[in-house]
Structure formats: C-alpha cells, structure tokens
Symmetry: C2
Subunit: 292 residues, 2 copies
C-alpha cells in the first residue's frame, strides 16, 4: 500500500460496490475527497449523511473536474453512456475503471469511445456482494479477503493498472490480472452458466400446471439451488448478452454432459452414474474445505 | 393424536430419520419400547445411551417379535433385503412403513415380497433433513412443521395408513397422501432433477484442465447452487435408478427449456431472455416469501 493516496475520487453509481470502495478508502484515510454521481436522490443523500461520500453531483463533467480516478459502478447498460460523457470531460491521464461482471464488452466499448486515451481505462471486476444493493448496504469491509480481477489490454498504461490495483488492495482485496477474454470464459463457467441453469429450472417448474403443488414440496436443497434465480432479471439479461458466445459454448458443453449422464441412467449403468456423482461430490467438498 | 400410542416400535436403521422418529415419540410418551436394529455398533450404542432407543438387536426376527410397527429407514439398496427378512418373521397385521425418497420402487417390492400381506405395508417419505446423518444428528424436533408423504396403494389397509399418519403427526409433521406415481413425478422435478443438474455442473467444471482456477473464482452463488452436489453419490445413484423414467422425462424437458433459452440468447432476443428470468425470479421469490 505504501504511499497510495487518491486526492479526488469520483464514484459514478454509489451502490453497494461504489459505496463500499469509498467507505474502505475513507476508513484507511486514503482518499481526500469523494464525489458521488447518481440518479437516486434518496440513495445519494444516504451515502452523504453516512459519510461515504463528501459531495453529490448530478453533472458528471462538474464531478470529473480535477479527479484522479473515476470508478464506474452503474448497471452494465448505462456504462457506455457514462463512458461517452466521461470522454467529453475527463482530462488526459485521469484513470477510469469499472466494476462490471463482464469484461470484453467493457474493454471494447472503452477502446471504441476513448481511442488512444483508452490506455487510462482499466477494466475491473470485484468478486463480492451480489445479494444486496444500494448505498445503505455499503460497508468498508466488503472486499476484505475477496478477489478483484483486472483485465488490462496490451496498451493499457501500466501505472494506471498499478494504481487501480493499489486502490483495491487498500480495500483489502487480492488483485488478479488476466485478459478480458479469459475473464469472461472463467465467469461464464462458474457464474453465468449456473445462473442460467437455475433460472431455467425455476421457470420450467413455474410454467407447469401443478406449479403450486411442486413448489409446496420443494425443500432446502431446492432453495439453495435456486437462490440465484432470485437475482435481477435485467442484470442477468445484460450479462448473457455481453458474454453470449462464451456462455453459449458452456451451455452446449453442459447439455452434452447432461445427455451423457442421462444415457447412463437410461442404460442402467449405475456405476457410471455413481462415478460422475462421486467426482462432483469430491471436487465440491474439496473446494468448500479449501475455500474456508 | 387422541389415543395414539405404540407399544413396541422397531426402527430398522437408527440414523437421522429413524432416530428422530423414536426421539419425537419418546418425548411425547407415545411409545412404550423402541428396539433399534442396525449394523454400526458405535451408532447403535450412541442411540442407546442417548435414550433414543431402549434396546439393540442384531437379529431382525427377534426384534420384530411382538412389534406393533416397524419403521424401515435404511439406505434404499438395503430395503428389499429388510423386507424379505420381515416377511419371514413379522406377524400378520403388523404395520411396516419406510422413509425412502422414491415410492414406486418400494411399493412394487413390498407387493412382490408380501403379496396379500402388503396391505399392512405403508410407503412413506418424510421431507426433512438430508444434510446430516447418523443417530447423533437425531432430534425430536426434526419433523416439526415438515411434510410427510404417504403413498398407499388401493389395497393398503386404511387403518394401517391412519396409524402411520398418526405416528408422523405425533412427530409434528403434516401428512399428505398421494399415489406412488405422483410422488415420484413431483420429487423428480423439485429434488431429483436439481441434484442431477448440480452434480453435472460440478463434474463438468472439475473435469476441465483449469478446474483449480475455475473453482478459485467461484463465489457465493456457486456455493449455494452446488451444495446438493456434495450429497451422497450412492444414495443419489439409487434414487436416479429407482426413478429413472420420470427423471429422464424431466431431464428431457429441461434440455428443451435450456435450448429454447440458448436460442433467445443466440438470436439477441434480450426481451425474451429477460422475460424468462423475470418469470423465474418472481416465482422463486413468491415461493420463498410464502414458505417462510
């Protein structure tokens, strides 16, 4: 962390993520002035009165004046608009980073909008806190021990990457770098596909004539399996669109694996069914005990 | 509950389910004498010293002498063997019931082995407590507010059904009756299929070259989605075998629903993707708030 310090931080979208970054930096006395930019008056007031931000700005160009670093943590659909505005007002060398769940789309849009100035744009993805939202849920400890993935492009400025990495480390996070392509492949498998499967199962059951009876017999296993099917439909629509090609490949791979298992069940190959389940149970339990 | 009382209860397999039934009936002073039959000496001793059972028997025919009711709560694969032994030793009119997760197979085996005496065999399935196992986990309150499904056949003795129902109600459970076929169709959708999907996803990820990296980025949503993939591979192998035809139909329906969603993602039909997710989220959240 050494001499890391931000004089003026602009947080565009003071929700759980943006609010928690601001709170963590403030707790560590690592930021001079935090300006919040956001649509919801009530949410921004809450962030101001709880001391997460020092000032509210409606206008991004006023907010960005003299900024060191701009953190974009708005819903993915609004990101392009924010980048477009920032391109008009932000001085050369001001670092811009984001917190979106997909990274190829963000990197591409940033390059398209910023051109050569995109070298100060550092795509990022903190792996934390999908369940709650809003500034009220923000907490200085949200990122403690969590991972943040940064996906710089070959021409991204190395010092800009290091500065964003330092910001996240100052929030208590472990920072990992990988390409945007690799990021999207990893999260397609461990996050986007599970969401799609969970949504699909619940919708399939909900659309049956005896849906109410079926739900009435669903128990704890079903509850856990389907928790992610309660996630924001808009957010996950956008993630599916942004990562469509990777996700479609994983859906395909999953369907093949499921067909193979169904074949074993159909053929009465109970040893193969058990072997598949045992491999999964072992991997799952090893992961859980390792990640504690 | 009125005048419900069992003089002598035999529990074959004193694990979580069998032990908790005995504990609940003892707490309510609704059982005179509980004989436990089981393989694991240590487990049986634990049940005896904690007062869940009054006596240990290795020999089923000795245990069954003078019994009113025999509860079979062994792994599904051992059930046929237990029924075979019981057929030799149990007096006419003694009620036999079970606690297995699939009901067509149990009903069929019971009819095959018991013939006309199968009218005193009442297939049952308590919907509770898959996570822990063993007598040490047994608790008198396990079934409180939970549901128990009984699946009598047309020629099952009505008084035998009522007696088993009374036993479960005395444990605090709500008792529902349906046919074995309907039972297996319901649980294929809300339990067996989710297990298969969760196992399949974890095995697919575990078999990839970068499995370790993938698991390292898995977060809370993945953890919940895959909790049931940590379940006993033997138990779920047997459930898949016992309910193969229903389960294969549901796997097929799921594959179709997933293909349809993939088609929407591929075609960029974001409105249809969102509509599917929204239907699922709404159903899921309505279920959770209704089942609290």
């Amino acid at each position: 962390m050494q001499d890391f310090k931000i004089d003026k931080l602009v947080v565009v979208g003071v929700g759980l993520i943006g609010g928690s970054v601001a709170a963590a930096l403030k707790r560590g006395r690592l930021v001079g002035h935090v300006v919040g930019v956001g649509r919801s008056r009530a949410n921004m007031q809450r962030a101001l009165s709880s001391g997460v931000i020092d000032a509210i700005e409606q206008d991004l160009s006023s907010a960005a004046r003299g900024a060191d670093l701009v953190l974009i943590s708005v819903p993915v659909k609004q990101t392009a608009g924010v980048l477009q505005q920032l391109r008009q007002c932000v001085a050369d060398g001001v670092i811009v980073t984001d917190a979106g769940s997909t990274k190829r789309d963000f990197a591409q849009i940033a390059q398209h909008i910023f051109g050569s100035a995109a070298k100060y744009v550092v795509p990022g993805h903190p792996i934390a806190g999908a369940e709650r939202s809003g500034a009220a849920a923000a907490s200085a400890g949200l990122f403690s021990g969590k991972r943040v993935v940064l996906t710089p492009l070959p021409d991204t400025d190395a010092k800009a990457v290091e500065r964003v990495a330092s910001m996240w480390r100052a929030c208590g996070a472990n920072v990992i770098q990988m390409s945007p392509e690799h990021h999207d492949a990893v999260f397609s498998a461990v996050s986007h596909l599970p969401h799609v499967l969970s949504y699909t199962l619940v919708e399939m059951i909900a659309s049956r004539a005896n849906a109410q009876e079926l739900f009435s017999f669903a128990a704890g296993g079903f509850r856990d399996f389907t928790r992610i099917a309660g996630s924001s439909p808009e957010m996950w629509r956008d993630i599916c669109a942004a990562n469509a090609d990777q996700l479609l490949r994983d859906i395909d791979a999953f369907q093949q694996a499921l067909s193979q298992l169904a074949g074993h069940i159909r053929a009465g190959e109970t040893d193969k069914v058990e072997a598949a389940f045992a491999a999964a149970a072992q991997a799952r339990n090893a992961w859980v005990s390792g990640s504690k």
